[in-house]
Symmetry: C2
Subunit: 113 residues, 2 copies
DNA sequence: AATAGCACTATCTTTTAGGATACCGGATTT
DNA sequence: AAATCCGGTATCCTAAAAGATAGTGCTATT
């Protein structure tokens, strides 16, 4: 019973890592926590991501109901990506990640820059 | 300035994902939250991981000062892996991940099982 | 009318993670 | 002394992730 619980936790962690893991997914979500963004805006924000990867990740996040793509007003060729409600529920988690990440960097990586 | 801050957060998230990301790292850490464990114990706990991968990940986690490998008493051929203090500082984060993961599963994956 | 920006798509290639499998030396059990 | 368990190594292989690069159709700007 105790053990079963453990097993589950291991699986939960793996599930979440699937969703926010990888080189970009977490970063995209973090960037969208700030505010909704357009494709190229996101691209600039993330630095070195390629359009191929960005669109792939965005579609994945859409499929998982974390991100929503909507046409801006009625202008064609203008879309924004924003967090869904479910996506927003990740914000505290991401915030904790950022905090721990800063601590980790200063501890391990010697806070260069 | 504001923008710089954003950039940093994106990097922080990526750093943390590096540390706890991938198919196994988060799971290993979660398993070690419970208590210190030996190699084969961990292996059993994680289910389908291969020894090659497990040792690789453990070494990575050691390098990043999250896990510590120690000889048990004075018996040769008996080692335990445990979280360092820094590793333990991840516990709340992992707990949040588990909680969100459960919510996500019931929402998206339809809580099968 | 031409140029440039937006939001992608397509193709090709490299990189990386991680699985499969076999093996190894030392310690322990029988 | 033989078999088994522990804590790994060593090799080989595959699939998936992601980079590089070029091109597309539409719109907005000058």
């Amino acid at each position: 019973m105790r053990n079963k619980q453990k097993q589950l936790q291991v699986r939960d962690v793996q599930d979440v890592i699937n969703v926010i893991g990888g080189r970009w997914r977490g970063a995209i979500l973090a960037s969208l926590c700030d505010k909704e963004k357009r494709f190229n805006e996101l691209k600039r924000d993330l630095g070195s991501i390629t359009p191929r990867t960005l669109i792939k990740e965005l579609k994945y996040l859409e499929m998982n109901k974390l991100v929503q793509r909507r046409e801006e007003n009625h202008q064609l060729n203008a879309y924004t990506y924003r967090l869904t409600e479910h996506g927003h529920s990740l914000e505290p988690l991401i915030a904790s990640i950022v905090v721990w990440g800063q601590k980790h960097r200063s501890l391990i990586l010697g806070q260069k820059e």
